[in-house]
């Protein structure tokens, strides 16, 4: 009997179903994928984010003086798939729940992440290598902390020296 009474009562209790968005903050789910956030302190310039980016939003360019790389992520090309954050080995890229990205046409090309990341230096010879940030040292550099900070050439020499020491071979004076 009178089934609409039940619906009316429920609507009275629950209130309007309209999201009061422009006048009050909208609800955002905690897993919502919004724009990417970049932490240059953790980036090791491995380039996996650029490799997996479906929309081609990420660019890595060597700076003009060769002292580092310019990292660019254009939000107007990003499709929020989150692959970069998934594959980033150090957690430098993460997806925030920020979706307030509306901007005017004049800001089209300035709506991006742009940061300069300097190259690291080999602890022995000073050659330019990928930056050895604390995030990657904690992850894979613990087995041989000294060797991890070397460039590939110095690393090879260090390994050979170590093998020679273990096998009691005579170390050469002039390698």
């Amino acid at each position: 009997m009178l089934p609409f009474l039940k619906i009316m009562l429920r609507n009275l209790i629950l209130g309007p179903s309209t999201d009061p968005f422009p006048f009050a903050p909208a609800k955002t789910h905690k897993n919502f994928r919004g724009c990417a956030v970049f932490d240059p302190e953790k980036c090791i310039l491995c380039g996996i984010c650029r490799h997996v980016c479906a929309a081609g939003a990420i660019q890595l360019r060597v700076s003009e003086d060769g002292s580092g790389m310019q990292y660019m992520l254009w939000h107007n090309s990003c499709v929020f798939c989150g692959m970069c954050a998934h594959y980033c080995p150090t957690g430098a890229l993460t997806m925030s729940d920020n979706w307030h990205l509306v901007h005017t046409g004049a800001e089209m090309f300035s709506n991006c992440i742009s940061s300069f990341i300097p190259f690291g230096e080999c602890a022995q010879c000073g050659a330019k290598i990928q930056p050895r940030t604390q995030a990657i040292i904690d992850k894979i550099g613990e087995r041989s902390p000294e060797r991890f900070l070397l460039c590939p050439k110095c690393k090879r020499e260090s390994i050979v020296r170590n093998v020679a020491k273990v096998n009691h071979l005579p170390a050469e004076e002039n390698p």
Binding site: S17, T18, D19, F21, P22, A26, C35, A54, A55, G56, A57, W74, H75, N76, S77, C78, V79, F80, C81, W99, H100, L101, V102, H103, T104, G105, E107, M108, N111
Partner: protein, 151 residues
């Protein structure tokens, strides 16, 4: 009289949608914004209209494929001045995932001036509403200045 009307007009912008070869993701979100009581863009005085000649705010989605390019430009030129263009999604700006496709030429930006951009793939309905609100601000400024965007 015209002054008075241009003060009143921004209270009810009429919205027109153009699908420039979109994948329909953004179109579904735009329909959601208009039709579902949860978002209800009509609260803000907006109304989706069927004819480009009645429109004030244009929502464009899609990367402007070669097949629809001339048709989109023809429809766009029928919209009276001053019009405000809102790019919904990343496709109109950069092409998004379709950027190098065989059927996609230059971005919409080369043909139509974009006034407001709502990035997302697709943007959520609240973001589209935010974009419409921003477009209304731009439109109000244009009405007050009496300037036209070039077509």
């Amino acid at each position: 009289m015209l002054q008075f009307l241009s003060k009143l007009a921004p209270r009810s912008p009429w919205i027109y949608r153009i699908n420039a070869g979109s994948c329909n993701g953004c179109d579904v979100e735009m329909a959601t914004t208009a039709l579902i009581p949860r978002y209800d863009v009509e609260r803000l005085g907006c109304k989706y209209c069927g004819s480009p000649r009645h429109a004030d705010v244009v929502l464009i989605s899609g990367p402007l494929t070669l097949r629809v390019r001339d048709k989109v430009l023809r429809v766009y030129n029928e919209i009276p001045h001053p019009k405000v263009t809102v790019a919904v999604g990343v496709c109109p700006v950069s092409g998004g995932c379709f950027r190098d496709g065989y059927s996609v030429g230059a971005d919409i930006d080369h043909y139509i001036p974009l006034d407001v951009i709502v990035p997302g793939c697709p943007p959520r309905p609240q973001a589209i509403m935010e974009g419409v609100l921003k477009a209304v601000e731009v439109w109000r400024a244009r009405l007050e200045e009496g300037i036209c965007s070039h077509s």
